[in-house]
Amino acid sequence: MMMLWGHELRLFLRQRIAVPALLLMLALSCASVWAGLAEVARQREVIERIQPKQAKDEAAIAAWVAKEGDVGNAAYYTFHATWDSPSSLAFAALGQRDIAPFVLRVRALPLESQINESENYNAELALPGRFDWAFVLTYLAPLLLIALLHDLFSAEREAGRAVLLGVMARSTRALWLRRIVLRAGLLLLALLVPFIVGAVIAGSTAAMTAIVAGIAAAYFLFWIALCLLIARMKLASLANAASLAMIWLAITLVLPGLALLAVNQAIPVQQGVELTLAQREAVHAGWDKPKAATMQAFVRDHPEWKDKATFTGGFHWKWYHAFHYLGDRAVGEQVKAYRTGLEARDAWTRKAGLVLPPVGVQVVIHRLARTDLAAQLAYQDRIRTFHAALRRFYYPYIFNETPFRTEDFAKAPRWPAQKTGQLATASQERK
């Protein structure tokens, strides 16, 4: 039995295209894993790097604010850092992390004008997409698989050996199976080994690594099935190769492009701009509204400050924070609609993934790697929770009119280390 396998292996490796294809797969996989690991390391380094800078910035603000002890100044001038650490699988699928911020500072003023801030990035470099392992798997691996499998049967036919093989082999089915497993299996191995090494370095769990490897294998099976389907038409090797390349073009480039057009056309998301414009109007109209009415509206949502909502004079931080809060609240419905639109786009993409295997593979891997739109929205949710905690932290000082001193700066809520369903934490904690 082993001898047969060894024999097939020798036959396969003697083909002109075999060794170059396998080496190319290995090199591409290695390069993409390396690039992904380097990018994730850079992102972690940025998050590490901002901590002392942030601390210094806070200390500098504390130095002058604490002298007067005015909490209004503390809340106005202190920006609080948030960040979204890459998961242990992010190296394999960098996703939207290059265009959406993964570090963002917020302060206790209205959130809607802060949460959609962008990161500085070079748009021309983001345009073609990143070179990561998920890209190698979805686009390049099928091409190499086609190169290795398109003449599986036709080559023997064209060489006049097909009939002979059929007669000589104990089981032709076993023979072809051996050949397919050998060709596709070696290619899969060349793709997966660098990934597994990368996953170990990145501290990914064995289960996660196995799931991704399983997805890659399933994706290979899909392409093998396609190759066999085309082979059934008994065309020449040449026609096989051309047909398969055409199919590759259609399902990896053309149909996803059409799907994007359809999804973005069907679900417009201009609510983002609209709510931003509306929120500014709502906030600034607050300056001109009767103060008593503003405080009443604020107290309805914050009954705990019912007895402290009065003040004298033309300006008070209580009032300032009340109408800023109301500005955010005024666009609550639009925020929800915007969010629903983004989620609908994501949901339709998942549906497209059910029909188009390349999209499906990308969807699943990016979900596992927490680098998709949903992950971006989840980060925003955590920022919302954090922002609410910030307001809750400052309100007692503002409404009780307690002086805000140096030691109070240290009491402010801190951005929590990731824990919500983040499979990455296990490895992070180990470090």
Partner: protein
Amino acid sequence: MSRTRLIAANEWRLMRRNHVARLALLMLLALSAIATFTSIAHRAESDALRARFQAQADREFDGQPARHPHRMVHYGHFVFRPMPALAAFDPGVDAFTGNTIFLEGHRQNSANFGDVRQSSLLAHFGQLTPAFVLQVLGPLVLVFVGFGTIARERESGTLRYLKAQGLAARSLIAGKALALGGIAALMLAPALFSLGWLVVVEAAPLSGALLLAISYAIYLLFWVMAVIAASSMTRDARSALLYLLGLWALTTILVPRIAPDIALAATPLPTRLETDIAIQDDLRRIGDSHNPNDPHFAAFKAETLKRYGVTKVDDLPVNYRGLLAMEGEKITSRLFDKYNDTQFTVQARQGDTATGFGFLSPAIALRSASMALSGTDLDGHKRFLEQAEAYRYAIVQELNRLQAEAVTFADDGNRNKDPEAARRVRIDPKHWHDVPDFTYRPASLDERLRAAVPGLALLLFWLAAGAAMLRLASRRIGAAL
């Protein structure tokens, strides 16, 4: 010449019988048509939406009630980046950059709500635009249609007969290239229609559109030559197909993705958060407006008093708070400019590194020229950011000047204690009307051409490379016949 045409005509007849070639070509033409119509519609819609938002923002600014000028500094303004007409052909980085910025005093906000950030990861598969269809899919279709043109003749042995009939290798190659070139011209047709439409209906600059057409023609011509050369130099048609597919995957899919990674690793960009902290840090060092004994602001005060020949700020003929606001804004704006310059320099260096890979990939060369000519390259976005910042500075300083001249120092100081002073500091809203609206100045044709030079030069390099390959192929065939 007639022989060349005869060979071409014969080749076209064969192509019509080739199912895969026909299917590939039809698919490309259909996609081109879809991309053309959706792109034109999308550009028109987006541009109209942005214009509507801009008009709304202008209206809302002008319609503000009587206010203290500093309230208006914080009320701020929104500006939107219009989409150039040729963006309907090649939207470039438009979707990757925010198209609106909130402008206010003391702060510089980011451009937000870029399409891609609001899209699912489908955006990573590429956007179906006329430019994308020709840049990425066009060469592949040429490969499908043309890989066998000469290799097939060699395999079937007809190459010898042609030689026996006294056909020169040059005529053969020229004929085959003419046939495939005809296909390329057909593929270019929808793009030409789209460009023509944009020139006529959307008033796109004619010379820009012409140069775009020429750039794409050169690009496709390179691929025609590469396909013919590969088809004549390989052992059989299948090898030609595999080599060409490899070349396409390498130059059109792989290198364009690797180039940015290398450029980013070579010159990293600081995050907004870090820049923000650095600016705050610099500000505190230059002059801390919160510190009453700060040397910079003490000197500013002394100088102001001296200029007006008074001894107390109360005696100034203008509102000292307004002057202070103007001085503060001047300092912060200078820092914004300084950090922006650094950022733009880094981005330009990254761009140069990535464009350098145009020596390995004609697709990179074409994309660079195409975006520059369409006015949708990073320079276009940078221009928007710079103009928005200049506008921000102008309106903030105008409002600060109003605070200095139309609000008295005494009223300004008492506005929270004395309701009458509070009423007086709210100045006439006609001033908001007087603040000019934002008008975006797009890149001039001259600037676009200059930005397109590296890409165009690289395309010419590829044209020369293609011609050299073809010559080599012709000589080889001549020797082999």
